[in-house]
């Protein structure tokens, strides 16, 4: 009856196949198993299925003896309303099993604005929000992903937060839990046994101790060391992957070239988080390419890494990938090229629409501050190549509100746009003005970056800067300006560097209706302001800067990169001294203590 009820409910919702699974290459769900894991992504199917981490971990667990792993994504409002109306509990796609019936329910948390969606999914599953309310009953609720770099704002909701790469710690935790279950060990005892294990942060045991003025003075245990894959070339990477039945955001095969980034842009969390830098060998990537195309039928393949242009064997890889792709009537797409690594030859075969580049700051001085090792000459040369190759336009990404930014830096952004127009006029099609799309994001200071101590600019400053650019760019023809919402950036900053007191705030914001807030049209700033105030907190407390001597909420984690190194990078930023790419010479960030960095 329940199945019939679900089938009727699906008649009334948008894109019902989001909730039904049944994709090609589905692993065997009938194999003998002692432990069942449900991997949850707190956003809709189309977003979650595009996540390469989910893809790897799902197949890795299903390729492990005695383990079955299923998936669950956040249902859209039409579906959740129907589920509530019909008393349907949140279920997995593969076997329609209720989440509460799994041994482990794991959430992948990649960005701050989906924290409330975790609560949304837990509520629909009938699982209490807080770990201490769940007791011994029900599944072990865990989290992982990029936001685990600072798990404090959501610490109360999870039994375990996995810090680092899931290929290591998720598998380890699953097998440990399987043994504990078999041996009849209680959940409480099991959690105790994880203390000191790399990559496993148990918030009920590792807690911050607050002193005067709500400042953290210490933690109850030693630091949790982030776990990393030592040898990426030999690491698990699925090539017989699920082929979604509906179009997803990144609907293509993805090749992972390497993890980490050598460039060290001082605002970039991913760059430091994914260190040490580890590459896959070209031949391994080529093998993955052929296997993925053959097993999925995808007609597009993309290269994923933080800075694809910096992959050491990129020229040879592209050369050898072309026939593999061509033979299968597929195409190759290249994301995230740095301005200094764009030579034009990678894009020779592609359609000449528009190119995307991120100079990030308008002047050389500010680019030196943020360590974006891109010169004005790099930008001009790249635009010249693009114009000569017949591109119709460019997309440029910048940030506003970076530390030390002045009006001169904003003027610099406008100057780059003007120069780009001139270059296209000189070297491109004189009869057509290039389409220039310029986008600015507000700088959000993030943990584990040299700017983690910085204050975020105020709402007034954000609006002033955006208005200035809007006015100046409106004077130029064929330039489209868009900017990231200032209000969202403030909440993102607060949640990124927040402490455990924010758990209550997140809970309150959720109860006021906040969910799917990564979608700008659904973001509600007032909910957060009210939730903060009801908890006796202010946003200013969280978006203001930290003292260098402060113990930071995420200092309970050893993420690899040394705090002293981040501090020295911060000092260099204020002196506008650049740090060269660590591809040539190690800069001593100490991430290599976790695993070998570069060959």
């Amino acid at each position: 009856m329940k199945n019939e009820l679900l089938r009727n409910v699906l008649f009334d919702v948008n894109k019902p196949s989001r909730y039904m699974g049944g994709e090609f290459n589905l692993p065997n769900m009938d194999k003998p198993c002692d432990i069942r894991v449900c991997l949850c992504f707190p956003d809709v199917y189309e977003v979650g299925m595009s996540n390469i981490g989910m893809r790897i971990l799902y197949h890795m667990l299903n390729d492990t003896d005695n383990v079955i792993c299923e998936r669950c994504f956040a249902p859209e409002d039409d579906m959740s309303d129907k589920m509530r109306e019909n008393a349907l509990s949140l279920f997995s796609l593969e076997t329609k099993r209720e989440l509460a019936d799994f041994d482990i329910v794991g959430f992948s948390i990649g960005y701050e604005m989906i924290y409330t969606n975790v609560l949304f999914m837990l509520e629909l599953a009938g699982i209490p929000f807080r770990a201490d309310e769940r007791g011994e009953d029900g599944p072990l609720v865990i989290a992982g992903g990029m936001c685990a770099v600072n798990g404090e704002p959501f610490a109360d909701f999870f039994d375990v937060i996995l810090v680092g790469e899931g290929e290591v710690n998720l598998k380890d935790l699953t097998l440990r839990y399987e043994r504990a279950k078999r041996d009849g060990i209680s959940k409480k005892e099991f959690l105790k046994s994880l203390v000191g294990v790399n990559g496993m942060y148990v918030p009920s045991i590792t807690k911050p101790i607050y002193g005067e003025g709500n400042k953290i003075v210490s933690f109850t245990t030693d630091k949790v060391v982030r776990s990393v894959v030592k040898d990426l070339d030999k690491a698990y990477f699925p090539t017989k992957i699920l082929v979604p039945n509906i179009e997803i955001v990144h609907d293509r095969g993805v090749l992972e070239l390497y993890r980490g980034c050598a460039n060290g842009c001082r605002f970039c969390q991913a760059c430091f988080y994914y260190r040490p830098i580890r590459e896959r060998k070209k031949d391994t990537v080529l093998r993955h390419a052929a296997e993925i195309l053959d097993s999925t039928g995808y007609n597009e393949l993309s290269l994923a890494s933080l800075s694809t242009g910096d992959y050491s064997e990129l020229d040879a890889l592209i050369e050898e990938l072309r026939p593999i792709v061509k033979e299968r009537n597929a195409s190759l797409s290249l994301p995230s090229l740095r301005l200094d690594s764009f030579s034009g030859k990678f894009s020779e075969d592609s359609r000449k629409g528009s190119l995307t580049f991120a100079p990030e700051a308008g002047t050389q001085r500010l680019r030196d501050v943020i360590n974006k090792n891109v010169t004005d000459a790099n930008i001009d040369d790249t635009m010249k190549i693009a114009a000569e190759q017949g591109y119709k336009g460019v997309k440029l990404y910048f940030m506003i509100g970076l530390p030390t930014e002045t009006k001169e830096d904003l003027r610099g952004i406008v100057e780059i746009v003007k120069r780009t127009q001139d270059i296209f006029f000189k070297y491109g099609d004189r009869n057509k003005r290039p389409r220039i799309s310029l986008s600015t994001a507000v700088f959000v200071p993030k943990p584990l970056t040299p700017f983690q101590w910085e204050r975020q600019i105020t709402l007034e400053e954000m609006c002033e800067k955006q208005n200035y650019l809007k006015g100046e760019l409106a004077k130029l023809a064929n330039v489209r300006y868009s900017y990231h919402d200032a209000y969202t950036s403030i909440i993102e900053a607060a949640l990124a560097r927040g402490d455990r007191r924010l758990c209550r705030v997140i809970e309150r914001a959720y109860k006021k209706g906040s969910r799917f807030e990564a979608w700008s049209e659904r973001f509600n700033f007032e909910n957060w302001v009210e939730a903060m105030s009801e908890e006796g907190l202010t946003l200013d407390e969280y978006v203001g800067g930290f003292e260098e001597s402060d113990i930071l909420p995420w200092d309970n984690i050893d993420n690899g990169v040394d705090k002293g190194y981040l501090l020295s990078e911060r000092k260099k930023a204020y002196e506008a001294i650049v740090t060269p790419s660590c591809k040539g010479k190690c800069n001593g960030c100490r991430a290599n203590k976790l695993g070998r960095c570069y060959e």
């Binding site: 019939e4 089938r7 009727n8 699906l10 008649f11 894109k15 019902p16 196949s17 909730y19 039904m20 699974g21 049944g22 994709e23 090609f24 589905l26 082929v243 039945n245 509906i246 179009e247 053959d294 097993s295 999925t296 039928g297 995808y298 007609n299 299968r328 009537n329």
Partner: protein
């Protein structure tokens, strides 16, 4: 040109027509066969479906025309079934010299639903009723449609409700029609159990099943 008759049953019935075409393209690509592509800057695989199956309705009578040469229909069918996702099951395949005009020719589609028992009132006159309406919601708005000229026949037999409805501008929401009929007799139905069972070419005198039509195309009796 190979024409595959296939089923679309189970959970995959909740995949839309457009998405199903994408799935089928990938399935054909996975076979590794050299299929024909259109010319131009953006070549498209020669893959043609028949009338779109409404979302949530199952079918045992879907047809897919594939521009594949140099392979027998039986071999193609075997490869198709190895590479199609669960729920898309090829049942027959036929090799034709040219693409049949199946979409233009099919003008009646038959659906059925097991309602478990006899209806409380007669439905035989619905096809001739000039004032029979169905209602459904589309994009939040209630839509009311007259079914006259769109329902070719409707009957019940042993608890099975069967209707032949038009295509194109004569099509109607079959789920709304069956639901109205079931509701009038107080019968609870799962709309996902509605099955497309046959596609016909109707010339005003007789209903020619698409299976027969394709066989006649093969013999050169039809185009």
């Amino acid at each position: 040109m190979i024409v595959v008759k296939h089923k679309k049953i189970g959970d995959i019935s909740y995949v839309s027509h457009i998405d199903t075409m994408r799935i089928l393209q990938r399935a054909v690509r996975r076979t590794g066969l050299k299929v024909n592509y259109s010319g131009g800057y953006n070549p498209h695989m020669e893959l043609y479906p028949t009338h779109p199956l409404p979302l949530g309705i199952q079918s045992v009578a879907e047809y897919l025309m594939v521009g594949a040469d140099g392979i027998s229909a039986d071999d193609f069918l075997e490869l198709y079934n190895k590479n199609a996702p669960r729920g898309l099951v090829g049942t027959e395949a036929i090799e034709l010299a040219a693409k049949p005009k199946l979409v233009a020719s099919v003008n009646v589609i038959e659906y059925s639903l097991d309602i478990g028992r006899a209806l409380d009132k007669s439905i035989e006159n619905i096809a001739d009723d000039k004032d029979y309406h169905i209602e459904y919601t589309r994009k939040g708005e209630v839509v009311r449609k007259n079914t006259y000229g769109k329902v070719f026949y409707i009957k019940t037999d042993g608890g099975i409700l069967t209707a032949g409805v038009g295509t194109g501008e004569n099509s109607i929401r079959i789920d709304a029609l069956f639901k109205k009929i079931a509701d009038e007799s107080g019968i609870y139905v799962c709309l996902n159990d509605i099955m497309r069972v046959n596609q016909y070419i109707y010339d005003g005198k007789e209903y020619v099943n698409a299976d027969i039509y394709l066989k006649e195309c093969k013999k050169g009796l039809r185009r």
